[in-house]
Symmetry: C2
Subunit: 108 residues, 2 copies
DNA sequence: TTGATAGGCAAGCAAGTACTTGCCTATCCT
DNA sequence: AGGATAGGCAAGTACTTGCTTGCCTATCAA
C-alpha cells in the first residue's frame, strides 16, 4: 500500500526535511536538526526529527546508510512517481484550465 | 501554501474518491457515496463524503459546478504537478535503484 | 577506561481530524 | 401546495499523531 507515502508527505516539517535532503544529500540526524533550527526557525527536538526521518524512511522517500556512529540520510524521490502514475497529469497543451466535459444541459 | 494539497492526499478515503472521479468525471455527492459503498465496501455516511469532497476542493484537486439541485464534481490533477516540481524525479535511465554517491570510505 | 558524541526506545501529553448525528435550506416533480 | 430529492451547517466523539521528556546503547577520542 502507498499509504505510508502520503502519510509521510502530509506533514510540513517532513516536507521541509525532504527539501533539505534534496539540497544536500547524506546528512546526519544532527545535521538535519541544526538546519531546521537555523534556516527554518523550527524549534523541534532531536527526537522529533528522528521520528520524522523514520516516517520518511518507511515511505521509501529517505534511504539510510550507517557508517561508524554516523547514519547518513539520502533522498529518494522515486516513490513520488506513483502519484502521477495513479492520477495522470493533463498535458500542458493549450490554455491552463480547460473545463472538463460533463452533462451540460440535458432537459431544457 | 501547498499545505492543503498534501493534507487532502493524506486520507485513503479521499484518494479512493479521486480514483472514482478519475474513472467517471462529473459525479454528484450521492453518486460518489454509492460508489464508495458498492465498489469499495466503505460504510461512510453522506456527510463524511461531503466533508472529504470539501477538503479535496480546497486543495484544488476537485472542481465543482452547480446545476439546479445537483452539484457535479470534476477531478483536476493539475495541482499534483507541484509535487514532482518540488522534488524532481530521477530519470528512468539505466538500472532502477542507483545508489546515490556519498562519502564511501574516508578513514580506513 | 572515561568522557563525549551520534543515535534509539518508550511512555505521556496535547492538538488535529475522520466520522457521526441532528437539523436546516434549495430545487424538482406531481 | 406538498413531498421527495440533493445538499449544507454545526456540535460531539473517538482515534490519530506530532512532539516532548527521560533513559539507554554504540562508536570514537583522550
Amino acid at each position: 500500500m502507498s499509504d505510508d507515502l502520503f502519510k509521510a508527505l502530509a506533514d510540513p516539517t517532513r516536507r521541509t526535511i525532504l527539501d533539505e535532503l534534496a539540497e544536500k544529500s547524506g546528512q546526519t540526524l544532527f545535521e538535519v536538526c541544526s538546519r531546521l533550527a537555523m534556516k527554518h526557525r523550527l524549534g523541534i527536538s532531536r527526537q522529533g526529527v528522528s521520528q520524522h526521518l523514520a516516517v520518511l524512511e518507511a515511505a521509501g522517500l529517505v534511504e539510510t546508510r550507517r557508517e561508524g556512529r554516523y547514519k547518513f540520510h539520502d533522498l529518494n524521490t522515486a516513490p513520488l512517481r506513483r502519484i502521477t502514475e495513479r492520477w495522470p497529469l493533463p498535458h500542458p497543451d493549450s490554455h491552463p484550465h480547460s473545463r472538463p466535459s460533463g452533462p451540460e444541459d440535458s432537459t431544457s
